[in-house]
């Protein structure tokens, strides 16, 4: 660039398996309203990841309807809401998504059973879609979901069926504990991989630097909601960079924290972020809902390594400690051992 400005790039790769309790499970309940719209209840806590939106999309896809007619219940009551192991470990979409699919299938089976009576058809010849159950070979033979989801009443008052409640659950297949000696075991169903890169501009006079561009390519299995997926990854990249470049607690010899407020514990702010490029590849995870893999946390993992690689290259010295304050780089450059 010029006498004291160096641009450099660094790349980091990650793999991650979401290790959770081997019996961590998730449940879902699908119920209907009189107008044929649906209620979806799961124990996933919506903390901004958009998981509940994605669960509604999954349900809508399976029920062949618009997500606009799905009411997602946000409130969680430990009394009656189905259990979701924990809203952690990028497991929300995977566990609850599978539970929702099972609940949907349960509801569909019940809808087809009633419709089969009313339409005088074999359930295997029937299909659900767009608010109706209809004969696959002749869609004019049909009945509206709203007319059967609370039972069907014949003109003379005779009624059959009843309220339809779909229930589903999911538990990961054949997980086991890892052997503490050898590390062998199956902590989670799928390994997820990705590659990340950072481009920086280093000022070799004081070792301050700018974050220019950051790239992340994750294997998402199947991207279920493009905007949400991109947001998850960008947010994670931002946190990874902030963590790598400034976030740490500083302790006195007695263990007191020197920077106990956000005045001194700095995080990345608006405009300090690099330009983000987020791409996905899709190699489906056969166990995941519609092939989806975990992606919530993954955007964070290799950012520190990518940043350290870029800065090491620019400064011409191996940087092995976080955070990468300009002073830290300067000290490494001066040959001080990195503690």
């Amino acid at each position: 660039m010029d006498a004291h400005t160096i641009r450099a790039k660094g790349i980091g790769c990650f793999w991650k398996n979401s290790s959770i309790d081997p019996d961590g499970s998730s449940g879902a309940i699908v119920s209907f309203n009189q107008d044929g719209s649906l209620n979806l209840e799961t124990g996933v806590v919506e903390i901004g990841t958009g998981t509940k939106t994605i669960l509604a999309q999954i349900l809508a896809e399976r029920m062949r309807m618009s997500p606009d007619h799905i009411h997602v219940k946000f409130k969680i009551s430990t009394d009656i809401t189905p259990e979701h192991w924990k809203t952690v470990a990028s497991r929300g979409t995977f566990l609850a998504g599978r539970a929702v699919l099972k609940a949907a299938d349960d509801a569909i089976r019940q809808l087809l059973d009633i419709a089969a009576c009313v339409l005088r058809a074999d359930p295997v010849d029937l299909e659900l879609g767009h608010g109706y159950v209809y004969a696959r070979a002749d869609p004019s033979v049909r009945i509206a979901v709203k007319d059967i989801c609370y039972g069907y009443k014949y003109p003379n008052g005779n009624s059959i069926g009843g309220q339809i409640i779909g229930r589903g659950h999911y538990i990961q297949r054949r997980m086991n504990y890892t052997n503490p000696e050898t590390g062998e075991g199956t902590p989670g169903p799928e390994w997820n991989v990705g590659a990340q890169a950072v481009e920086i501009e280093l000022d070799t006079r004081d070792y301050s630097y700018k974050l220019l561009k950051a790239i992340s390519v994750n294997d998402a299995g199947k991207v279920l909601n493009p905007k949400a997926a991109k947001g998850q990854v960008m947010g994670a990249m931002s946190m990874g960079l902030s963590f790598a470049n400034r976030e740490t607690f500083m302790f006195s010899g007695e263990g007191a924290i020197y920077n106990a407020s956000l005045r001194d514990y700095n995080v990345i702010r608006y405009g300090e972020n690099p330009e983000y490029v987020v791409e996905f590849i899709e190699s489906p995870c056969l166990d995941g809902p519609y092939g989806a893999r975990a992606l919530g946390e993954h955007g964070l993992i290799a950012m520190p390594a990518a940043l350290a690689a870029a800065l090491s290259r620019a400064a011409g010295v191996q940087l092995n400690r976080l955070p990468l304050f300009p002073e830290t780089i300067w000290r490494a450059k001066m040959g001080e051992p990195q503690p």
Binding site: I47, G48, T49, G50, K227, A228, G231, Q232, M234, G235, M237, S238, M239, S261, L262, R263, V267, I268, R269, Y270, G271, E272, N273, E275, Y276
Partner: protein
């Protein structure tokens, strides 16, 4: 707190265009009175130290951290909280651009951007950055927020924005855009 009664006063505040009263201590923060006395929980307590911006409201149209202001200081001024904005362009753009995840920082960002769009509709990138660095977001990568801000400012700059402005003005509480300088305080030469 010992002897609090002796310190209790009746505050009269103009919040979202409505005159409201509350019994409070002179030492009470605007943030706490808004939330606890008026039930306006849009402004969020984050750091209570002026560092995060989650508590941002407008005071006479200016973004203000309500954790850095005593409620008594707001007497005679127009306070606008996020509850005072109804489907404004800023709110719509935040939704459209996915400019939030958990939403904790959102009311603060929205109020700051709303103030910016009204006081500095022609803000350049430097100004936008200067203003928005007052708030912290832990979830997004800020790019979504930037997209929303750029879009709001563009709409205001374009002629079509006039409609949006008129709409916002009716949607926002009264007096949301008065500059203290313009309101005849003694300072000269303001470029607002």
């Amino acid at each position: 707190m010992a002897g609090t009664d002796r310190y209790t006063i009746v505050l009269e505040l103009n919040v979202n265009g409505e005159m409201r009263r509350a019994a409070a201590r002179p030492a009470d923060l605007l943030l706490d009175v808004l939330r606890d006395s008026f039930g306006l929980t849009g402004a969020k307590p984050g750091c209570l130290n002026g560092d995060c911006g989650a508590c941002t409201v407008l005071v006479d149209g200016w973004p203000m951290k309500s954790c850095l202001m005593l409620a008594v200081e707001a007497e005679g001024k127009a306070v606008t909280t996020v509850e005072g904005l109804k489907n404004t362009a800023v709110q719509r753009e935040f939704v459209d651009k996915f400019a939030f995840q958990c939403g904790y920082c959102t009311p603060g960002f929205v109020m700051n951007v709303y103030g910016l769009a009204h006081l500095r509709p022609d803000a350049d990138e430097h100004t936008v950055k200067d203003w928005l660095q007052s708030n912290i977001c832990r979830c997004t990568g800020y790019e979504e927020i930037r997209d929303a801000v750029v879009s709001v400012l563009q709409r205001r700059a374009s002629s079509a924005a006039d409609a949006a402005v008129a709409e916002d003005a009716t949607n926002a509480a009264d007096g949301a855009v008065d500059s203290p300088m313009r309101k005849g305080s003694a300072a000269n030469g303001s470029d607002t």
